[in-house]
Symmetry: C2
Subunit: 231 residues, 2 copies
DNA sequence: AAGTGGTCTAGACCACGTC
DNA sequence: ACGTGGTCTAGACCACTTT
């Protein structure tokens, strides 16, 4: 009988240890919550809290009646923190700068129209550059649906980026993100200050609020950019 | 007095609604747990569970004594599910295939040595290709520390990829991941079946177990690959 | 039918950071 | 010092799913 494991972090640690040490090998059924609570000398709720945390990390599979099993293929969940670009740059200790390239209310081209599923209305198209210590850092190409972002048409976006303004002023209920690699066109290369054809890291993001599309944006990062994540 | 909000998901939903509707605008201090519990007619623990979930999603900042505030800059947390490559391909409905290119026990070059911080010993270097429906999908270039992966030297990796074997047989306590874009060298282009210079999506991952480095790997995905994430 | 995890409760004490 | 969130408890009932 193990004793003194009374807080959920300690329980979690012990559970992780057993998984790691293969005392509970992949696929194995582990004791139920009540038994573990008895063994550890704590309440079942405490065990539940710990097991739930480990399960959220992907290392346990829990099913009612069937019990808790050690995951066979622990799907690694990496969490990306996608902050406002200004913040990201300032956190690196660099000086942030911003330049608006274009801001137009236009009817979107077909691909954008398809993604945002907007009606007949025009969308606001904004293109801008973000700088870190005067070096181009990212090129932002964004379409904004005025129906999804009140007051957006009054924003000049000449000093504050759409990236930042939207996050502050526009609620959203969901979104999806795609990460990819893209060869710089000559125009992009010129704007970002790199070579044509250079491999650029691209982040494409669509955001909606309920049934209304809010914005779709592509961020092209200068050559050499790497996005960090933790396991 | 709102009534009938008795389970934590319902409380969470109501909290999200208030944030979204700007009833609780960004930066605002929201009522404390006890008051909300009274208002909703449930136990404080239920409110705590809900608020904790919303805070984990990045929409609330909670501090003892200072209370709970709506986050000013809701850092979007996107979660990447990084599965075994075989699984990823099969989930797309494609047929998975694998080919080992190289498997050698060698002294690592300086950059790898620096990352893994291993001693004098040799590392296992494995290069392999993953196919989806006979089309090259990803190129795996991996260094494995025998000290961190028992029995790895007995694995031929001719039928099962190191990607899969390690996940199944080698515990780890942590890791870090970097995502970037990379121009294909001529050799890489040949192996992946693309053009030299094509922009390739790269995932670089280092894994360790306690103080021991386990493996460092670079996965180069064929041109056109996009990694999906959800908000 | 039965056993498992999922959740709620009411109360309590604690840790922490602001006041 | 004191108010806040963080956590633990013991018990209870419920929902799901497998047997």
């Amino acid at each position: 009988m193990t004793k003194g494991i009374r807080n959920w972090q300690a329980v979690q640690q012990e559970v992780l240890r057993r998984i790691n040490a293969r005392e509970w090998p992949p696929g194995a059924l582990i004791p139920n919550e009540a038994d573990l609570a008895t063994e550890f000398g704590c309440a079942r709720a405490t065990v539940n809290r710990a097991l739930r945390a480990v399960a959220e990390a992907g290392l346990l599979d829990r099913k009612r009646r069937a019990g808790t099993r050690v995951a066979l293929q622990p799907v690694a969940r990496a969490t990306l923190s996608i902050a406002v670009i200004r913040q990201e740059i300032e956190e690196k200790g660099a000086r942030y700068d911003y330049r608006l390239l274009e801001r137009k209310l236009v009817r979107p081209p077909a691909p954008v129209h398809r993604i945002l599923k907007t009606g007949e209305g025009a969308l606001l198209h904004v293109r801008a550059l973000h700088f870190a210590d005067d070096v181009a850092y990212a090129l932002e190409d964004r379409w904004i649906n005025p129906a999804g972002a009140p007051a957006v048409l009054d924003q000049p976006f000449d000093a504050t980026s759409a990236n930042e303004w939207l996050l502050e002023h526009t609620p959203y209920t969901g979104g999806d993100i795609a990460l990819s690699a893209h060869n710089a066109t000559s125009a992009e290369a010129q704007e970002l200050g790199g070579a044509e054809g250079a491999a650029l890291f691209a982040l494409t993001r669509n955001t909606w609020n309920g049934d209304t599309a809010v914005t779709c944006v592509r961020l092209l990062f200068a050559h050499g950019y790497a996005m960090q994540a933790d396991l």
